[in-house]
Symmetry: C2
Subunit: 456 residues, 2 copies
């Protein structure tokens, strides 16, 4: 019997199986820190559902692991190669199969880029709501794998809330369809919801039916600068108490403002030590923005009075506030969420941790959801770091997780567990809950070939 690579090359067409050193290295990792670098046996590019089924069958027969991958923009290592694996890149399955304006639904292949679907929907006054920061490059399949969030979630929900039905190739190569083409449907167990967020460990998603929402005709954006990060966090609660539901409510700390100034030549740091960006949309956008301005001013903010064009530019900057940075072992971005009432406390705790461990900290937050992305990092001088700095970074990271959990939070609001966050999962979920998930995994993938060592 030949190798799995030979077998896959025999099954697929020329150009669908790549074993070149450069692509193997490139596809070996996503954007998460790498803790166990492995080179895949091959990168495989299916172009149809049948291709995926054939590849899964061949790998299952050979006991070769399959690591599915969208655009590789994940930040938890869900698409990192593992030992004896192929990377199954779904990027060529990128067709929008249907878009029904009256049904307000679309059916897409997993490799469709989020922004591409949104452009197609916009022609009909519709949008696909979940908008992770990576929306210009990340795929719907990848978004489904991680149950991705984004900026608009507080109002419009996360990926799971927009997914109606899935086509999934199971570990034995068979194809099933879950869910319903209608907005509502409660026939049987929610298999669709089970696959969403399962990071390719239960099956390979090869088709996605999504619900679209109405593209708001009116959008108002308010930029509120604060002298202090905690005051800005308090502003989030003030907007909530006014019972206004913004589409976007982003919180940026001083470190993030400084970084944006560096990259874009803006003057944000001159205007405040923290920024709260609030976007309202829909028919009530103007009235809602007026309430938002009032309550934020009352809470000590300097609120722009000009037209919202400048504030909108700030939202665009915020969307790119990750910049081109990629996390590594010296710089780790977190994704905790806490109940909204604990935002102020948690922000204070983060600042104390960074000071205590003498590491750098910057924080952005989808504050409407209580979902924070603190990034801790340490300086490097050439290849070296200061002695002890690495340990202090790890202590700060661990402290930030422990504090979030103590406040009733979670270790991942929207990025997923992947590979990198497994070390903390046991702190959030007791053994009984983890064992139940292992048994579900065994049920779907008894041989353990689907993205092993991830998610649970």
């Amino acid at each position: 019997m030949g190798s799995i690579v030979d077998e896959l090359e025999a099954i697929l067409a020329p150009g669908q199986v790549d074993t070149g050193e450069v692509p193997l290295r490139r596809y070996a990792v996503d954007q998460a820190p790498v803790i166990d670098f492995q080179l895949p046996l091959a990168v495989v590019f299916p172009e149809s559902v049948a291709d995926v089924q054939s590849v899964v069958k061949a790998c299952a027969d050979s006991g070769v692991a399959i690591v599915p991958r969208g655009a590789g923009t994940g930040v938890s290592g869900g698409a990192h190669a593992t030992a004896n694996c192929i990377i199954l890149s779904l990027e060529r399955m990128d067709r929008i199969l249907a878009l029904s304006p009256d049904d307000e639904t679309a059916v897409v292949e997993p490799g469709v880029v989020n922004a591409v679907l949104n452009e197609a929907a916009a022609e009909h006054g519709l949008m696909y709501a979940p908008d992770p920061a990576s929306f210009r490059s990340s795929t719907i399949g990848g978004n489904v794998a991680t149950n991705a969030g984004g900026l608009r979630c507080a109002k419009y929900g996360v990926t799971r809330d927009s997914v109606l039905a899935l086509d999934v190739v199971l570990a034995d190569g068979s194809l099933i369809h879950t869910g319903h083409q209608t907005f509502k449907g409660v026939a049987g167990y929610d298999l669709t919801g089970l696959f969403v967020g399962s990071e390719g460990t239960l099956g390979i998603v090869v088709g996605i039916t999504v619900r679209l929402k109405y593209l708001p005709r009116e959008v108002h954006t308010v930029a509120a600068f604060y002298p202090d990060f905690r005051l800005a966090a308090a502003g989030v609660l003030a907007v909530g108490r006014a019972r206004v539901q913004p589409a976007i409510m982003e919180l940026l700390d001083g470190g993030t403002l400084a970084q944006l100034d560096d990259i874009h030549g803006s003057d944000l740091t001159a205007r405040g030590k923290s920024l709260l960006l609030v976007q309202t949309d829909g028919f009530g956008a103007a009235a809602e923005a007026e309430v938002v301005r009032r309550v934020l001013r009352d809470g000590g903010a300097t609120v722009t009075t000009e037209a919202s064009a400048e504030a909108e530019r700030l939202v665009e900057l915020r969307r790119h506030s990750r910049g081109t940075e990629v996390d590594d072992e010296y710089r780790v971005g977190e994704d905790v969420a806490v109940p909204r009432s604990r935002l102020v406390d948690y922000v204070a705790a983060l600042e104390a941790m960074a000071a205590g461990q003498q590491v750098h900290l910057k924080v952005v937050a989808h504050a409407g959801d209580g979902n924070l992305h603190p990034t801790f990092w340490i300086d490097r001088q050439g290849p070296d770091v200061e002695p002890g700095a690495m340990d202090r970074l790890q202590v700060a990271l661990d402290e930030s997780i422990t504090a979030a959990l103590a406040m009733g939070g979670t270790i991942t609001g929207e990025h997923g567990i992947g590979q990198y966050k497994l070390r903390w999962l046991g702190q959030e979920q007791p053994e009984a809950v983890r064992e139940l998930q292992r048994r579900i995994k065994d049920l779907f993938d008894p041989a353990g070939v689907l993205n092993p060592g991830k998610a649970i």
Copy 2:
């Protein structure tokens, strides 16, 4: 060894185990047609999580089935007694354990009545969004069991969208906590979503953390009367094309209007042959209602110009349009959903089926979701029905299901499969999908004691 009743009486306090003939009969069924009447061995009223754990353990040890029950308002037979079972009524576990206005969450026991939670939330300007027609009596636990919908779903989502976390007693009596207290959280598989809608077949839900939404300060209601049901259905699409998202969009046919007139002495039938009720809410409610009025008038409707007070009264009537009727073998309410673009076609098909089979038909629809509740019925004269009528009723029911599925619909939008709809589930879900669900059921409940013969 004594009987399970003796055992349960020994475990629980006096008054928690009822074996009286009248309660046994009363708790033997919910509001669905009964196809296999069974008397339970006892009705058991746990008052704590520990009570539920003890009862589950005792029943599991004795191989006695457990049928969990909220208020018994289900219409699919999910709470019908089965052979050798106890009814586990969760109605006494009715405390709101926490309600955090800043977190916009509440933690409730399963027996809390939907309307009671809404009253408590309203004091803080908040609401629990899912509003099944039974909201005045149905419980949050029952709503979770069926993933209940309601009138406000098109805008605010179904039960699953409002549930953040669950406490669940498993089939071995152990207790787990799933989900997260935060709005977002993607750690591990979505066990919470798996339990929601599983009709008590995977575990007994004993605690529910829900997300609350903002109670809209402004509500506008538009009542549009049409000369024809299909024109009214087309009005639903017209509102969608105007990209206005109403909170409520209810469609009532002539039969429903006549029934409301009968019960309430209203004059609806004099005003049109069909009624579309549209409610907009939030800061943009007035502007949205103005657009709705315009597009509905353009589509041939007579739209009330008066203040929305009268229209609001109509929404209240609609909420009670099931009246006090309980389905039985002569009168069956359906719960299909179709993609929105097929609403007009489906309504036409229903009218043709009723005419063809000479059975009565009335239809109400949560039209924003494409979720229709057609009711077919036949006349009785005393205990007798016309020869052949029963068969024709069954043919009409089967046709309505087949037509909905052929249009890409589902056999249940929000009521659940329960016991009554199992006969049609195979038409919607192929064997592979059903087998996967059976295996999940086996994983959670290997002895098959949790509400056997329901949901899948």
